[in-house]
Symmetry: C2
Subunit: 478 residues, 2 copies
């Protein structure tokens, strides 16, 4: 059973002081009491956090600074929130306090056409960024499934990735510089606006993926790359899971560079069928591959990789020739998380990563855990990176201890295979109890000391990433 | 005139205590007194630092730990040193103390053929890494000119780049994980061995480019990418500097992705001629472009980019068809720094970066500075990234104040153009006095606090990156 971590709660008087100061300073941009939607207590992790004492709907940098100043002065915890589409509870308040929502700060979006860079406000939607830059012949690769909902500030906080990360990397690889607002409200510009630069420590990379625990993000400067001329999408069906895993290994070994290699297991395939995707009979596993570059390059790679998949045992290889077909395939893939949710009342999705050669072993382990713990399981994900989304599904609270056991065993197996707890969702609240499984105590201590440097009172998004003292390696689900 | 920064010097008794402890613990792997080569007082910056009281020629991780423990216990400064080919004095002792040389730790180099990753010891030579991975069909892109001399630990410390960074990025983009030894000797593994991972703060990126001020590096895990099938190199001559700059802008705007776009000015061209490279008459500027990918892709890009260069005013376009021609071109380019050194007794090379559209303005400024200060100047560098190597040459000490003035003005202009002080050499000793030109005082303070987290006594490579208190924005040359 997941329970919120032990964090220091603010006093009642501190809370009411913070409320009145916020209202005085920010007026209608502050909500309190019954005005506050329940949405601010949760995010796409499904965890229900503490009810906020105030929600600041920031519209300007000054609003961010004011909120951070009041939080610091009153010592009331504050949680930054962008699109609210995170999967591990990064935006869920673990302590009673203020939610600082930056969704309203969605302008300007400024494209520097010559330099190939983009300055975006923290609340800019990822899908809007994609449309803008692609219409100008540029490309911003990170593509988490939540692109229609998520905002750049959240992408930066979680170091968001997505299928194209196989070829193009994650958000961190594209952030040149950013404005960050520290506890107390001080504004800093970290990084640079040029393509290259090594002046001082890489504070930008430290901030990217810091899950809202070090600072609150303002404008972000992104590096763009040229938009590929052509894209070609291919769907390969396998009658054996092991054949699909072997195909992934062979594609990597043969050093092809598709931009995505997505794996989908049998149960995921049945979800795809339910959503109208035509998949060959007897398919136990699918690979969804995508190539980009010149048209000739795409065709050459697709042909060679298609042959390689057939040699590995593919029973069917289809190329999505039309943009419409491509779109449908990806829509189905991108809706998978929500479609899977309909199979049961509850699900948890763990985005573990293992060395690519260990993919089949991990998939087998997931099946084994499903059998042992008698839980419905389902896997899909970014096979090219060794990054699986392992889903455990259940309906009743009685099943929870078994789900907990399966999740715990999955993490142990992942680490034993030389893997990592999270490929793109972050640690947040859900995985914090397990941090010590992957990282040594001195490394965790070092990170805590860095956190103290930014936030000595521990009131910026408390309870995230680091396990609560005295509650190591326990875990629950939601 | 460059002078070493004000740093705290150890007491004589602390030094002799450190010497005797080191000798007792490490025996013949410690040099003291006359045994110590003068080389350990300097690096490729030419700065002469303090004479070390001891040089530890580390062969094992245990040696690193012992040296760091003794340094911490006796409070004697310690400076890590890899290949000694740095350009800003990162390995030059600013304080009397210990030099910790990791050049001898050059084994193992372990290629994981399936995963496409490589574990290398800190003293592994970059050229050796290139040969090994390329012979197996993999590719490690960073290629500083010093590849024959530099070691991976130094590349990591400085976030080394090189011409191919235009397409492929810098060292930081390829470090998945590393062993780091902290002051006192504690060993940590930071990062991961998988392709992807977002567990905790990105300590790896913080360490990469930290110039030996946060920790000493042990084994490094590098990400590899598939080796491109073909390479095509092209040399375009321009009779006007402005035409070459315009060509760079057009190539970028047309969204081609050569792996390198190197610019060389008129004086650099004359150095190339002296070294036997045939260059068209009347050439005032050269662009050296390189394409990689499939053979067809290289040819298509070269043809289109060649046409584009001609349209921008190129008077001559040559393609290096033979591997031998390619090698000769690059050898000349890579030897440029040392060849230029022969034009005068002294030189300083500043690796500033500006937005690409401002390249011509910067080049013009360098010429203007040469005229104003009556100093020989020369420019070349990674034009695709907006990263120029601006060389100032002089012969007598009398010229030094003028060199200082030119360097100072160059940095001011770079910052005014929205640029950064260093694209790949780092800040080290040479640029530390100028850090405040680019970075705000609160950002510098934040970095100092992070440094304190790792090294509270300030004895790990002191005097680097951060300006000495009370000596801001003065600068000299060596």
């Amino acid at each position: 059973m997941f329970s919120l971590p032990d964090v220091i709660e603010p006093s009642v008087s501190a809370c009411s002081k913070a409320q009145s100061q916020l209202m005085r300073a920010l007026g209608s941009r502050v909500q309190i009491g019954a005005e506050i939607s329940d949405d601010y207590q949760t995010d796409d992790s499904g965890i229900i956090g503490k009810r906020p004492i105030a929600v600041v709907l920031a519209e300007t940098e000054q609003d961010l600074q004011t909120a951070l100043r009041i939080a610091a002065e009153t010592e009331v915890p504050i949680v930054p929130r962008a699109g609210g589409s995170g999967r591990t509870g990064g935006a869920v308040p673990a302590a009673t306090g203020i939610v600082l929502a930056t969704l309203g700060m969605n302008r300007p979006i400024e494209l520097d056409r010559g330099e190939g860079s983009l300055v975006v406000a923290p609340g800019a939607r990822l899908s809007e960024i994609h449309s803008l830059v692609e219409s100008e012949g540029w490309f911003y690769p990170p593509d988490p499934n939540s692109a229609e909902l998520c905002c750049i500030a959240g992408n930066v906080a979680e170091n968001a990735a997505g299928p194209r990360a196989f070829k193009y990397g994650s958000t961190r690889d594209y952030v040149l510089g950013l404005d960050v607002f520290l506890m107390g409200g001080q504004k800093l510009f970290a990084g640079r606006r040029t393509r290259k630069g090594v002046t001082g420590y890489d504070i930008v990379s430290l901030l990217v993926g810091s899950e809202g625990t070090l600072g609150v993000f303002g404008n972000v400067t992104l590096k763009l790359i040229p938009k590929p001329a052509s894209i070609l999408t291919m769907l390969c069906s396998f009658s054996q899971m092991s054949d699909a895993a072997r195909a992934v290994e062979r594609v990597v070994l043969a050093r092809f560079s598709p931009r995505c290699i997505e794996f989908l297991d049998e149960k995921t395939v049945s979800v795809m069928r339910e959503h109208g995707t035509s998949v060959a009979e007897g398919t136990q596993a699918l690979l969804l591959l995508e190539f980009d570059g010149s048209e000739a390059e795409c065709e050459r790679q697709a042909e060679e990789v298609g042959n390689l998949c057939v040699a590995a045992g593919a029973v069917d290889v289809r190329v999505a020739l039309l943009a419409e077909q491509r779109k449908m395939l990806w829509n189905t893939r991108k809706q998978m998380s929500h479609a899977v949710r309909k199979r049961a009342l509850h699900k948890i999705s763990e985005d573990v990563v293992v060395p690519r050669r260990s993919l089949l072993e991990l998939i087998d382990e997931v099946r084994r855990l499903g059998d042992i713990y008698q839980i419905d399981t389902l896997c899909y994900g970014h096979a090219g990176d060794g990054n699986l989304h392992v889903n455990f599904l259940w309906n009743t609270d009685e099943e929870l201890p078994r789900v907990d056991g399966a999740v715990r065993d999955l993490f142990h197996k992942t680490i034993a295979l030389g893997g990592t707890l999270s490929g793109e969702h972050g640690i947040g609240l859900l995985k914090a109890p397990f941090l010590g499984l992957e990282q040594s105590a001195p490394l965790v201590d070092l990170q805590r000391r860095i956190k103290d440097t930014f936030d000595p009172k521990g009131i910026l998004n408390p309870g995230k990433i680091f396990p609560s003292p005295g509650r190591p390696n326990t875990h629950g689900s939601c």
